[in-house]
């Protein structure tokens, strides 16, 4: 038992981490095939020279930043409002949106936008992707901020108001500062899910709004292409740095 458990844990951690490690190692392979021939950065040069890929990366970044900003503000206000007093319908719909399978959210948004476009002269594009991303990340934000709110003592706001603070002042100067770590985690979660989403995005994106996951998906389906390894390694690295940086900031606070 004492020896078996660590042995098993080693195996489990290998299962969790080896696939991504191996993928990263082979992004530095000079061969086009899955046989190690030597160290090379050719696949990194290849992706840097790919204008379609660079545009998609830019789109993904733009979508993630805008969607995260909106979802974080709206979600934080919502969590605070629910903390003051329950709103069963809103809360229920947030739960439902949390567990609705991505593919269902995607097709229903597609149907909704197509329906609207009968009356409006608009098409699918970056804006529809951003709207969809705000909608699906809202429930994550509310849950994370609500968890943080549970550690806040409501008496603090009462005290502030007894001392003459307005309702807004009590929120803005007493409760909100205490929520900052939770809001940061929520924003990070919204950003990573938005940046990574393929299923919903591919359904509501237009011809001019291809995102990075859509390009990766297309390349992965086509067959062996070490460029995909290189992009994947970069994404894992970028998200990893972001997560570890956020963790460091939080433990300092």
């Amino acid at each position: 038992m004492k020896r078996l458990l660590p042995l098993y844990a080693t195996f489990a951690y290998a299962f969790l981490h080896l696939p991504l490690l191996v993928l990263t190692v082979f992004s530095f392979n000079s061969s086009k095939f899955t046989v190690w021939e030597g160290f090379s950065l050719r696949w990194y040069r290849a992706i840097a020279d790919d204008p379609q890929l660079m545009e998609a990366a830019w789109n993904s970044l733009l979508i993630a930043i805008v969607a995260t900003a909106f979802a974080t503000v709206i979600g934080t206000l919502c969590a605070y409002g629910l903390w003051k007093r329950d709103a069963p319908i809103l809360k229920g719909s947030l739960y439902v949106s949390l567990v609705t399978p991505e593919i269902v959210t995607g097709v229903s948004m597609l149907a909704f936008f197509q329906y609207l476009f009968r009356f409006m002269d608009v098409r699918l594009g970056l804006h529809t992707v951003i709207l969809a991303h705000i909608a699906f990340s809202l429930s994550f934000v509310v849950i994370v901020v609500a968890a943080r709110l549970r550690t806040v003592d409501p008496a603090l706001e009462e005290a502030a108001m007894d001392l003459g603070a307005t309702e807004w002042g009590a929120f803005y100067r007493v409760t909100l500062p205490a929520l900052v770590p939770g809001i940061a985690s929520a924003a990070l979660l919204a950003f990573t899910t938005s940046f990574d989403d393929y299923v919903i995005t591919s359904l509501v994106a237009g011809v001019d709004s291809e995102t990075l996951p859509m390009v990766i998906y297309g390349m992965a389906r086509k067959g062996v292409n070490p460029s995909v390894n290189a992009i994947s390694a970069l994404i894992v690295l970028a998200l990893g740095v972001l997560i570890l940086g956020a963790e460091r900031l939080r433990s300092d606070a």
Binding site: L77, C78, A220
Partner: protein, 276 residues
Amino acid sequence: MERLRFWFLAPSRLLMAVLFGAPLAIVFFYGLLTRGTYGGQSFPLTDENFARLADPLYLTILLRSFWLAGLATALCVLMGFPLALFIARSGSRKNLFLHLVMLPFWTSFLVRTYAWMFLLRDTGLINTVLQSAGLIHEPLPLLYNDIAVVIGLVYGYLPFMVLPIFSTLERLDPALLEAAADLGARPLSALWRVTLPLTRPGMVAGSLLDFIPCLGAYLTPDLLGGGKSIMIGNLIQNQFTSARDWPFGSALSLALTAIVMVLLWQFLRRKGESFL
């Protein structure tokens, strides 16, 4: 207070109504319409789309989704419990080991799925290594089957199982194990008869957190199952894209959402706890 609260909740109410409620309502309505000759949907109202769910062709895919999601969830319990136990008993390095489980979850799901394509396909790493070692001559068909899909699902959702089991293990009173030992239980039988039954709530929570996304999985069966191992998510996507049968796709979407909702409702009712 009420006025401030009203304005704080207004944006999310609007957002949920317009971008979540209305789209679902439209899909629900489309599920009752008839498919047009060139795609699209039109009157009269019909229940034919829902009746088609019982068609053996689609029922097979529905049952297969349940089977694969159930299998993946069961494997997650089997793999997740000992891992959570290891973390809970690892003393000062507990946080490090927990973070190591969560780290892949934070990185891209698409990339993690692609990593398995890279390992499993005919020209992938496993086949290449086995072939150059002379163990096999033809590549093994590792990708595009049910096993590949289940591996992908387990890989994707194992962290969701480890976390709740770990937190129930953390809350377990160590005195219970001491009492078991005092009464003559060996460590293994204490594990089986004390720890395991008391961790059940964590396993139930983890199973739900795994089963729900596995049942509605789209990306994993699409990339790792190819056309050969499709699940209900792929069927829905197909109806909305190449098959252009939105009414039937809508009926499928509704069936899937209803199943997930019942599961969630049962869980919340039993647990009597909320996340919000």
